[in-house]
Amino acid sequence: MMPDTMQQLTLSNVSLSFAGSPILEGIDLQLASDELVVVVGASGSGKTSMLRLAAGFQSADSGTVQMNGHDIAGPGAERAVVFQDDALFPWLNARDNVAFPLRLQGGIDRAERIRRADAQLAAVGLEGYGTRRLWQLSGGQRQRVGLARALVVQPAFLLMDEPFAALDALTRAQMQVALLEVWSRYRQGVLFITHDIDEALLLATKLVVLSGRPARVAETLTLDYGRRVLAGATTREIRADPQFQNLREQVLDRLFLSEPAA
Protein backbone atom coordinates (compact mmCIF):
# COMPACT_ATOMS: atom_id res chain seq x y z
CA MET A 1 0.00 0.00 0.00
CA MET A 2 3.01 2.27 -0.39
CA PRO A 3 2.29 5.41 -2.38
CA ASP A 4 3.40 4.73 -5.95
CA THR A 5 5.72 7.67 -6.26
CA MET A 6 7.48 9.96 -3.88
CA GLN A 7 5.22 12.89 -3.04
CA GLN A 8 6.31 16.25 -1.77
CA LEU A 9 4.49 18.82 0.35
CA THR A 10 6.32 22.13 0.46
CA LEU A 11 5.86 25.41 2.28
CA SER A 12 8.16 28.07 0.83
CA ASN A 13 8.75 31.41 2.48
CA VAL A 14 5.23 31.36 3.90
CA SER A 15 3.93 34.23 6.01
CA LEU A 16 0.61 34.56 7.75
CA SER A 17 -0.98 37.18 9.93
CA PHE A 18 -4.28 37.46 11.76
CA ALA A 19 -5.94 40.86 12.01
CA GLY A 20 -2.71 42.62 11.21
CA SER A 21 -0.56 40.81 13.73
CA PRO A 22 2.03 38.56 12.07
CA ILE A 23 1.98 34.93 13.26
CA LEU A 24 4.28 33.09 10.87
CA GLU A 25 7.11 34.64 8.91
CA GLY A 26 9.25 33.18 6.16
CA ILE A 27 8.48 29.55 6.99
CA ASP A 28 10.16 26.91 4.84
CA LEU A 29 9.15 23.30 5.30
CA GLN A 30 9.56 20.22 3.16
CA LEU A 31 7.73 17.00 3.79
CA ALA A 32 8.37 13.97 1.61
CA SER A 33 6.11 10.95 1.67
CA ASP A 34 8.50 8.84 3.74
CA GLU A 35 9.25 11.44 6.37
CA LEU A 36 7.81 12.04 9.80
CA VAL A 37 8.25 15.74 10.32
CA VAL A 38 7.47 17.01 13.79
CA VAL A 39 6.88 20.67 14.53
CA VAL A 40 7.39 21.88 18.10
CA GLY A 41 6.72 25.33 19.40
CA ALA A 42 5.32 27.10 22.42
CA SER A 43 1.58 27.46 22.84
CA GLY A 44 0.28 30.14 20.50
CA SER A 45 3.40 30.10 18.37
CA GLY A 46 1.47 29.19 15.23
CA LYS A 47 1.79 25.40 14.91
CA THR A 48 -1.89 24.83 14.23
CA SER A 49 -1.91 27.70 11.75
CA MET A 50 0.97 26.05 9.92
CA LEU A 51 -0.88 22.74 9.73
CA ARG A 52 -4.02 24.50 8.49
CA LEU A 53 -1.95 26.06 5.72
CA ALA A 54 -0.62 22.65 4.72
CA ALA A 55 -4.13 21.18 4.85
CA GLY A 56 -5.48 23.98 2.68
CA PHE A 57 -7.98 25.25 5.26
CA GLN A 58 -6.21 28.56 5.22
CA SER A 59 -4.25 30.43 2.58
CA ALA A 60 -0.98 32.21 3.20
CA ASP A 61 -0.54 35.97 2.98
CA SER A 62 2.64 35.42 1.02
CA GLY A 63 4.79 32.51 -0.04
CA THR A 64 3.59 29.25 -1.56
CA VAL A 65 2.13 25.98 -0.31
CA GLN A 66 2.61 23.30 -2.92
CA MET A 67 2.12 19.63 -3.44
CA ASN A 68 4.39 18.07 -6.03
CA GLY A 69 5.10 21.50 -7.44
CA HIS A 70 1.49 22.62 -7.74
CA ASP A 71 -0.17 25.22 -5.54
CA ILE A 72 -2.71 23.85 -3.09
CA ALA A 73 -6.16 25.23 -3.77
CA GLY A 74 -7.94 23.88 -0.70
CA PRO A 75 -8.33 20.77 1.41
CA GLY A 76 -7.98 17.49 -0.44
CA ALA A 77 -8.28 13.76 0.20
CA GLU A 78 -4.56 13.21 -0.35
CA ARG A 79 -3.90 15.22 2.84
CA ALA A 80 -5.86 13.63 5.68
CA VAL A 81 -6.11 15.45 8.99
CA VAL A 82 -6.21 14.05 12.51
CA PHE A 83 -7.21 16.40 15.31
CA GLN A 84 -6.84 16.18 19.04
CA ASP A 85 -10.55 15.63 19.56
CA ASP A 86 -14.06 16.45 18.45
CA ALA A 87 -13.53 15.44 14.86
CA LEU A 88 -15.23 12.02 14.88
CA PHE A 89 -18.95 11.61 14.25
CA PRO A 90 -20.80 10.31 17.32
CA TRP A 91 -23.89 9.32 15.32
CA LEU A 92 -21.81 6.69 13.54
CA ASN A 93 -20.20 3.64 15.08
CA ALA A 94 -16.42 3.11 14.88
CA ARG A 95 -16.61 1.27 11.56
CA ASP A 96 -18.88 3.80 9.85
CA ASN A 97 -16.64 6.61 11.05
CA VAL A 98 -13.71 4.92 9.35
CA ALA A 99 -15.78 4.21 6.23
CA PHE A 100 -16.99 7.82 6.00
CA PRO A 101 -14.25 9.07 3.64
CA LEU A 102 -14.89 6.06 1.37
CA ARG A 103 -18.60 6.92 1.27
CA LEU A 104 -17.70 10.47 0.25
CA GLN A 105 -15.44 9.21 -2.50
CA GLY A 106 -18.33 7.24 -3.95
CA GLY A 107 -18.19 4.30 -6.30
CA ILE A 108 -17.35 1.79 -3.56
CA ASP A 109 -20.20 -0.50 -2.52
CA ARG A 110 -21.13 -0.92 1.11
CA ALA A 111 -19.71 -4.41 1.55
CA GLU A 112 -16.34 -3.25 0.27
CA ARG A 113 -16.44 -0.13 2.45
CA ILE A 114 -17.08 -2.30 5.51
CA ARG A 115 -14.30 -4.67 4.53
CA ARG A 116 -11.79 -1.85 4.15
CA ALA A 117 -12.91 -0.07 7.31
CA ASP A 118 -12.61 -3.26 9.37
CA ALA A 119 -9.19 -3.97 7.90
CA GLN A 120 -8.06 -0.45 8.75
CA LEU A 121 -9.42 -0.74 12.30
CA ALA A 122 -7.48 -3.99 12.67
CA ALA A 123 -4.34 -2.24 11.40
CA VAL A 124 -4.52 0.28 14.26
CA GLY A 125 -5.17 -2.42 16.83
CA LEU A 126 -8.95 -2.22 17.02
CA GLU A 127 -9.96 -5.54 15.50
CA GLY A 128 -13.53 -6.40 16.43
CA TYR A 129 -14.36 -2.88 17.64
CA GLY A 130 -16.26 -1.89 14.48
CA THR A 131 -19.74 -1.86 15.94
CA ARG A 132 -18.77 -0.01 19.10
CA ARG A 133 -20.24 3.43 19.55
CA LEU A 134 -17.71 6.16 20.25
CA TRP A 135 -18.68 6.66 23.88
CA GLN A 136 -17.98 2.99 24.45
CA LEU A 137 -14.34 3.58 23.55
CA SER A 138 -11.50 5.03 25.63
CA GLY A 139 -9.79 8.25 24.59
CA GLY A 140 -6.87 6.31 23.14
CA GLN A 141 -9.19 3.99 21.22
CA ARG A 142 -11.09 6.97 19.82
CA GLN A 143 -7.79 8.45 18.68
CA ARG A 144 -7.04 5.15 16.92
CA VAL A 145 -10.41 5.38 15.16
CA GLY A 146 -9.45 8.88 14.01
CA LEU A 147 -6.15 7.54 12.74
CA ALA A 148 -7.87 4.65 10.92
CA ARG A 149 -10.35 7.08 9.34
CA ALA A 150 -7.48 9.20 8.07
CA LEU A 151 -5.57 6.18 6.74
CA VAL A 152 -8.44 4.42 5.01
CA VAL A 153 -8.24 6.56 1.88
CA GLN A 154 -4.46 5.95 1.69
CA PRO A 155 -3.59 9.63 1.67
CA ALA A 156 -0.14 10.74 0.63
CA PHE A 157 0.13 12.85 3.77
CA LEU A 158 -1.14 12.64 7.29
CA LEU A 159 -1.45 15.96 9.09
CA MET A 160 -1.78 15.55 12.85
CA ASP A 161 -2.44 18.41 15.28
CA GLU A 162 -1.44 17.35 18.81
CA PRO A 163 -3.35 14.11 18.35
CA PHE A 164 -2.21 12.60 21.66
CA ALA A 165 -2.30 15.72 23.85
CA ALA A 166 -5.45 14.69 25.70
CA LEU A 167 -4.22 11.19 26.55
CA ASP A 168 -2.63 9.95 29.75
CA ALA A 169 1.12 9.26 29.68
CA LEU A 170 0.82 5.48 29.28
CA THR A 171 -1.76 5.59 26.49
CA ARG A 172 0.22 8.32 24.87
CA ALA A 173 3.36 6.16 24.79
CA GLN A 174 1.34 3.32 23.26
CA MET A 175 -0.10 5.64 20.63
CA GLN A 176 3.36 6.91 19.75
CA VAL A 177 4.47 3.37 19.02
CA ALA A 178 1.24 2.71 17.11
CA LEU A 179 1.85 5.78 14.95
CA LEU A 180 5.44 4.73 14.24
CA GLU A 181 4.24 1.27 13.21
CA VAL A 182 1.58 2.70 10.91
CA TRP A 183 4.06 5.14 9.43
CA SER A 184 6.72 2.49 8.82
CA ARG A 185 4.15 0.23 7.18
CA TYR A 186 2.47 2.74 4.85
CA ARG A 187 5.20 5.35 4.54
CA GLN A 188 2.83 8.23 4.33
CA GLY A 189 4.46 11.56 4.93
CA VAL A 190 3.42 12.65 8.42
CA LEU A 191 3.30 16.22 9.66
CA PHE A 192 2.99 15.92 13.42
CA ILE A 193 2.46 18.84 15.73
CA THR A 194 3.15 18.73 19.42
CA HIS A 195 4.43 20.88 22.25
CA ASP A 196 5.90 17.85 24.02
CA ILE A 197 9.62 17.86 23.29
CA ASP A 198 10.20 14.23 24.25
CA GLU A 199 7.42 13.15 21.94
CA ALA A 200 8.88 15.30 19.18
CA LEU A 201 12.39 13.84 19.56
CA LEU A 202 11.09 10.31 19.76
CA LEU A 203 8.92 10.39 16.65
CA ALA A 204 10.67 12.74 14.26
CA THR A 205 12.82 11.95 11.29
CA LYS A 206 12.97 15.70 10.96
CA LEU A 207 12.30 18.05 13.84
CA VAL A 208 11.32 21.64 13.14
CA VAL A 209 11.51 24.10 16.03
CA LEU A 210 9.30 27.18 15.76
CA SER A 211 10.29 30.14 17.84
CA GLY A 212 9.76 33.84 18.19
CA ARG A 213 6.95 36.22 17.41
CA PRO A 214 6.17 36.05 14.55
CA ALA A 215 7.35 32.46 14.49
CA ARG A 216 10.24 31.41 12.30
CA VAL A 217 11.98 28.08 11.92
CA ALA A 218 14.65 28.37 14.59
CA GLU A 219 16.19 24.96 14.01
CA THR A 220 15.81 21.82 11.93
CA LEU A 221 17.20 18.53 13.26
CA THR A 222 17.47 15.18 11.54
CA LEU A 223 16.74 12.33 13.95
CA ASP A 224 16.05 8.61 14.00
CA TYR A 225 14.89 7.62 17.47
CA GLY A 226 11.69 6.38 15.87
CA ARG A 227 13.59 3.66 14.07
CA ARG A 228 15.12 2.58 17.39
CA VAL A 229 11.66 2.37 18.92
CA LEU A 230 10.53 0.26 15.98
CA ALA A 231 13.59 -1.94 16.41
CA GLY A 232 12.40 -2.71 19.92
CA ALA A 233 14.01 -0.10 22.16
CA THR A 234 11.69 1.12 24.90
CA THR A 235 10.88 4.80 25.14
CA ARG A 236 12.30 4.76 28.68
CA GLU A 237 15.66 3.52 27.48
CA ILE A 238 15.79 6.17 24.82
CA ARG A 239 14.85 8.96 27.19
CA ALA A 240 17.63 7.88 29.52
CA ASP A 241 20.18 8.19 26.72
CA PRO A 242 22.50 11.19 27.48
CA GLN A 243 22.51 12.18 23.83
CA PHE A 244 18.71 12.36 23.89
CA GLN A 245 18.86 14.56 26.98
CA ASN A 246 21.37 16.88 25.33
CA LEU A 247 19.09 17.21 22.35
CA ARG A 248 16.19 18.02 24.63
CA GLU A 249 18.20 20.83 26.24
CA GLN A 250 19.21 22.10 22.82
CA VAL A 251 15.62 22.20 21.61
CA LEU A 252 14.47 23.90 24.81
CA ASP A 253 17.15 26.54 24.27
CA ARG A 254 15.99 27.17 20.73
CA LEU A 255 12.33 27.27 21.75
CA PHE A 256 12.72 30.04 24.25
CA LEU A 257 15.61 31.87 22.66
CA SER A 258 13.61 34.75 21.26
CA GLU A 259 10.51 34.51 23.44
CA PRO A 260 9.57 37.85 24.90
CA ALA A 261 9.29 37.84 28.68
CA ALA A 262 5.63 37.04 29.36
Binding site: A55, F57, P75, F89, W91, F100
Partner: protein, 264 residues
Protein backbone atom coordinates in the same frame (compact mmCIF):
# COMPACT_ATOMS: atom_id res chain seq x y z
CA UNK B 1 -26.98 16.97 32.41
CA UNK B 2 -27.35 18.42 35.85
CA UNK B 3 -25.99 16.76 38.94
CA UNK B 4 -29.58 16.25 39.99
CA UNK B 5 -30.24 13.90 37.09
CA UNK B 6 -27.01 12.03 37.54
CA UNK B 7 -27.37 11.21 41.21
CA UNK B 8 -30.02 8.49 41.61
CA UNK B 9 -30.48 9.17 45.32
CA UNK B 10 -31.11 12.86 44.74
CA UNK B 11 -33.39 12.09 41.84
CA UNK B 12 -35.42 9.77 44.03
CA UNK B 13 -35.75 12.33 46.79
CA UNK B 14 -36.74 14.98 44.23
CA UNK B 15 -39.49 12.66 42.98
CA UNK B 16 -40.56 12.06 46.56
CA UNK B 17 -40.82 15.79 47.24
CA UNK B 18 -42.88 16.22 44.06
CA UNK B 19 -45.22 13.41 45.13
CA UNK B 20 -45.65 15.01 48.54
CA UNK B 21 -46.42 18.41 46.96
CA UNK B 22 -49.06 16.93 44.65
CA UNK B 23 -50.65 15.00 47.50
CA UNK B 24 -50.71 18.15 49.62
CA UNK B 25 -52.42 20.13 46.86
CA UNK B 26 -55.02 17.39 46.44
CA UNK B 27 -55.68 17.28 50.19
CA UNK B 28 -56.07 21.07 50.39
CA UNK B 29 -58.33 21.02 47.35
CA UNK B 30 -60.42 18.24 48.88
CA UNK B 31 -60.55 19.94 52.27
CA UNK B 32 -61.54 23.31 50.81
CA UNK B 33 -64.36 21.86 48.75
CA UNK B 34 -65.58 19.97 51.81
CA UNK B 35 -66.13 23.23 53.69
CA UNK B 36 -69.50 24.86 53.92
CA UNK B 37 -70.33 27.61 51.53
CA UNK B 38 -68.05 26.61 48.66
CA UNK B 39 -70.25 26.36 45.62
CA UNK B 40 -69.29 23.35 43.38
CA UNK B 41 -69.90 25.76 40.51
CA UNK B 42 -66.91 27.72 41.83
CA UNK B 43 -64.71 24.74 42.71
CA UNK B 44 -65.92 21.15 42.42
CA UNK B 45 -64.31 18.49 44.61
CA UNK B 46 -61.58 16.17 43.32
CA UNK B 47 -64.07 13.33 43.54
CA UNK B 48 -66.58 15.16 41.37
CA UNK B 49 -63.91 15.92 38.78
CA UNK B 50 -62.82 12.28 38.75
CA UNK B 51 -66.42 11.15 38.34
CA UNK B 52 -66.81 13.61 35.48
CA UNK B 53 -63.68 12.22 33.87
CA UNK B 54 -65.18 8.72 33.93
CA UNK B 55 -68.48 10.00 32.61
CA UNK B 56 -66.99 11.97 29.73
CA UNK B 57 -64.69 9.05 28.97
CA UNK B 58 -67.70 6.72 28.62
CA UNK B 59 -70.51 8.94 27.38
CA UNK B 60 -68.76 11.99 26.04
CA UNK B 61 -69.41 15.70 26.26
CA UNK B 62 -70.69 17.96 23.46
CA UNK B 63 -71.14 15.08 21.04
CA UNK B 64 -67.75 13.41 21.43
CA UNK B 65 -66.04 11.15 23.94
CA UNK B 66 -62.97 12.33 25.75
CA UNK B 67 -60.83 10.12 23.57
CA UNK B 68 -62.29 11.68 20.42
CA UNK B 69 -61.63 15.19 21.75
CA UNK B 70 -58.12 14.14 22.63
CA UNK B 71 -57.53 12.55 19.23
CA UNK B 72 -58.76 15.67 17.41
CA UNK B 73 -56.40 17.87 19.42
CA UNK B 74 -53.43 15.53 19.06
CA UNK B 75 -53.99 15.26 15.32
CA UNK B 76 -53.90 19.05 14.96
CA UNK B 77 -50.80 19.38 17.10
CA UNK B 78 -48.91 16.65 15.25
CA UNK B 79 -49.94 17.95 11.83
CA UNK B 80 -48.69 21.37 12.95
CA UNK B 81 -45.49 19.81 14.29
CA UNK B 82 -44.83 18.06 10.98
CA UNK B 83 -45.29 21.34 9.11
CA UNK B 84 -43.13 23.23 11.61
CA UNK B 85 -40.32 20.69 11.26
CA UNK B 86 -40.53 20.63 7.46
CA UNK B 87 -40.29 24.44 7.35
CA UNK B 88 -38.39 25.21 10.53
CA UNK B 89 -35.42 22.89 10.10
CA UNK B 90 -34.41 24.16 6.63
CA UNK B 91 -34.96 27.75 7.76
CA UNK B 92 -32.82 27.09 10.83
CA UNK B 93 -30.13 25.55 8.63
CA UNK B 94 -30.23 28.60 6.38
CA UNK B 95 -29.94 30.96 9.36
CA UNK B 96 -27.13 28.95 10.92
CA UNK B 97 -25.03 28.39 7.83
CA UNK B 98 -25.36 31.41 5.56
CA UNK B 99 -25.25 35.13 6.08
CA UNK B 100 -27.86 35.68 3.40
CA UNK B 101 -30.09 33.06 5.00
CA UNK B 102 -29.71 34.79 8.34
CA UNK B 103 -30.47 38.15 6.77
CA UNK B 104 -33.68 36.84 5.23
CA UNK B 105 -35.10 34.59 7.92
CA UNK B 106 -33.78 35.88 11.24
CA UNK B 107 -36.08 38.93 11.37
CA UNK B 108 -39.03 36.75 10.39
CA UNK B 109 -38.40 34.21 13.12
CA UNK B 110 -37.74 36.88 15.73
CA UNK B 111 -40.90 38.69 14.65
CA UNK B 112 -43.12 35.62 15.00
CA UNK B 113 -41.60 34.35 18.22
CA UNK B 114 -43.08 36.73 20.80
CA UNK B 115 -46.57 37.19 19.27
CA UNK B 116 -49.30 35.45 21.29
CA UNK B 117 -51.50 33.16 19.13
CA UNK B 118 -54.70 35.01 20.07
CA UNK B 119 -53.25 38.06 18.32
CA UNK B 120 -52.82 36.46 14.92
CA UNK B 121 -55.78 34.11 15.15
CA UNK B 122 -58.29 36.59 13.57
CA UNK B 123 -55.94 37.24 10.68
CA UNK B 124 -55.48 33.53 10.01
CA UNK B 125 -59.26 33.06 10.04
CA UNK B 126 -59.69 35.92 7.57
CA UNK B 127 -57.05 34.43 5.29
CA UNK B 128 -57.71 30.71 5.62
CA UNK B 129 -61.28 30.50 6.83
CA UNK B 130 -62.59 28.57 9.78
CA UNK B 131 -61.60 25.09 8.64
CA UNK B 132 -59.05 22.67 9.99
CA UNK B 133 -56.18 24.38 8.13
CA UNK B 134 -56.36 27.59 10.10
CA UNK B 135 -56.28 25.68 13.41
CA UNK B 136 -53.19 23.79 12.30
CA UNK B 137 -51.57 27.00 11.07
CA UNK B 138 -52.19 28.78 14.37
CA UNK B 139 -50.53 25.95 16.28
CA UNK B 140 -47.79 25.62 13.66
CA UNK B 141 -46.80 29.28 13.91
CA UNK B 142 -46.20 28.82 17.62
CA UNK B 143 -44.02 25.80 16.88
CA UNK B 144 -42.04 27.21 13.98
CA UNK B 145 -39.76 29.65 15.81
CA UNK B 146 -38.48 27.32 18.53
CA UNK B 147 -37.55 24.72 15.91
CA UNK B 148 -35.89 27.21 13.56
CA UNK B 149 -33.98 28.87 16.41
CA UNK B 150 -32.77 25.59 17.92
CA UNK B 151 -31.72 24.26 14.54
CA UNK B 152 -29.76 27.44 13.83
CA UNK B 153 -28.06 27.26 17.23
CA UNK B 154 -27.27 23.60 16.61
CA UNK B 155 -25.59 24.04 13.25
CA UNK B 156 -23.69 27.06 14.50
CA UNK B 157 -22.20 25.14 17.40
CA UNK B 158 -20.80 22.26 15.34
CA UNK B 159 -17.16 21.73 16.35
CA UNK B 160 -15.07 23.42 13.63
CA UNK B 161 -12.67 20.46 13.67
CA UNK B 162 -15.51 18.17 12.64
CA UNK B 163 -16.23 20.32 9.61
CA UNK B 164 -12.56 20.64 8.73
CA UNK B 165 -11.95 16.90 9.01
CA UNK B 166 -14.86 16.25 6.65
CA UNK B 167 -13.64 18.93 4.25
CA UNK B 168 -10.22 17.30 4.22
CA UNK B 169 -11.91 14.07 3.10
CA UNK B 170 -13.45 16.00 0.22
CA UNK B 171 -16.89 16.85 1.62
CA UNK B 172 -18.35 20.01 0.13
CA UNK B 173 -21.54 22.09 0.41
CA UNK B 174 -24.47 19.71 0.51
CA UNK B 175 -22.42 16.79 1.75
CA UNK B 176 -21.19 18.84 4.69
CA UNK B 177 -24.73 19.91 5.46
CA UNK B 178 -26.22 16.43 5.19
CA UNK B 179 -23.43 14.33 6.67
CA UNK B 180 -21.95 16.65 9.28
CA UNK B 181 -23.94 19.77 10.15
CA UNK B 182 -27.41 18.24 10.29
CA UNK B 183 -26.54 15.19 12.41
CA UNK B 184 -24.36 17.38 14.65
CA UNK B 185 -27.35 19.64 15.21
CA UNK B 186 -29.75 16.78 15.92
CA UNK B 187 -29.59 17.10 19.72
CA UNK B 188 -30.49 20.80 19.51
CA UNK B 189 -33.18 20.12 16.89
CA UNK B 190 -34.83 17.64 19.23
CA UNK B 191 -34.66 20.17 22.05
CA UNK B 192 -36.43 22.54 19.67
CA UNK B 193 -39.09 19.90 18.98
CA UNK B 194 -39.63 19.46 22.71
CA UNK B 195 -40.03 23.20 23.26
CA UNK B 196 -42.24 23.44 20.17
CA UNK B 197 -44.55 20.68 21.35
CA UNK B 198 -44.99 22.51 24.64
CA UNK B 199 -45.64 25.80 22.86
CA UNK B 200 -48.04 24.24 20.34
CA UNK B 201 -49.95 22.31 22.93
CA UNK B 202 -50.47 25.44 24.99
CA UNK B 203 -52.02 27.29 22.03
CA UNK B 204 -54.58 24.52 21.66
CA UNK B 205 -57.40 26.36 23.41
CA UNK B 206 -56.83 29.44 21.27
CA UNK B 207 -56.69 27.41 18.07
CA UNK B 208 -59.94 25.65 18.89
CA UNK B 209 -61.75 28.92 19.70
CA UNK B 210 -63.20 29.22 16.23
CA UNK B 211 -65.71 26.79 14.80
CA UNK B 212 -64.31 23.60 16.22
CA UNK B 213 -66.62 20.68 16.91
CA UNK B 214 -64.04 18.54 18.63
CA UNK B 215 -60.88 18.96 20.66
CA UNK B 216 -59.88 19.42 24.29
CA UNK B 217 -59.77 23.21 23.91
CA UNK B 218 -63.21 23.21 22.35
CA UNK B 219 -64.53 20.95 25.13
CA UNK B 220 -63.27 23.35 27.80
CA UNK B 221 -64.75 26.39 26.10
CA UNK B 222 -68.13 24.74 25.62
CA UNK B 223 -68.16 23.71 29.26
CA UNK B 224 -67.14 27.21 30.36
CA UNK B 225 -70.04 28.76 28.45
CA UNK B 226 -72.48 26.66 30.43
CA UNK B 227 -70.53 26.97 33.67
CA UNK B 228 -69.82 23.25 33.84
CA UNK B 229 -66.81 23.80 36.07
CA UNK B 230 -65.98 20.13 36.65
CA UNK B 231 -65.51 19.56 32.91
CA UNK B 232 -63.35 22.68 32.67
CA UNK B 233 -61.07 21.51 35.45
CA UNK B 234 -61.04 17.96 34.14
CA UNK B 235 -60.08 19.30 30.69
CA UNK B 236 -57.28 21.38 32.14
CA UNK B 237 -55.90 18.37 33.99
CA UNK B 238 -56.07 16.24 30.84
CA UNK B 239 -54.22 18.93 28.87
CA UNK B 240 -51.55 19.09 31.58
CA UNK B 241 -51.27 15.31 31.75
CA UNK B 242 -50.91 14.96 27.97
CA UNK B 243 -48.29 17.74 27.94
CA UNK B 244 -46.35 15.78 30.54
CA UNK B 245 -46.58 12.59 28.46
CA UNK B 246 -45.54 14.39 25.25
CA UNK B 247 -42.50 15.78 27.03
CA UNK B 248 -41.60 12.33 28.34
CA UNK B 249 -42.12 10.92 24.84
CA UNK B 250 -39.70 13.36 23.24
CA UNK B 251 -37.16 12.64 25.96
CA UNK B 252 -37.39 8.95 25.12
CA UNK B 253 -37.02 9.80 21.45
CA UNK B 254 -33.93 11.84 22.30
CA UNK B 255 -32.39 8.95 24.15
CA UNK B 256 -33.02 6.76 21.13
CA UNK B 257 -31.99 9.19 18.38
CA UNK B 258 -29.10 11.03 20.04
CA UNK B 259 -27.65 8.51 22.47
CA UNK B 260 -24.33 10.37 22.42
CA UNK B 261 -25.82 13.46 24.03
CA UNK B 262 -23.95 14.32 27.23
CA UNK B 263 -21.47 11.51 26.63
CA UNK B 264 -19.17 13.03 24.03
Amino acid sequence: MSALQKNPLRRKSAALVSAITITAVLIIWWAVTGMHGIDPLFLPSPGAVLAKFAEVWREGYVDATLLQHLAASLLRVFAALAAAIILGVPVGLAIGTSTIGRGIFDPLVEFLRPIPPLAYLPLIVIWLGIGETSKIVVIGIAMFSPIAISTAAGVRSVAPNRIDAARAFGARGWQLLLHVRLPSALPEILTGVRIALGAGWSTLVAAELVAATRGLGFMIQSAAQFLVTDVVIMGILVIAGVAFLLEAGVRLLERWLVPWRGKL
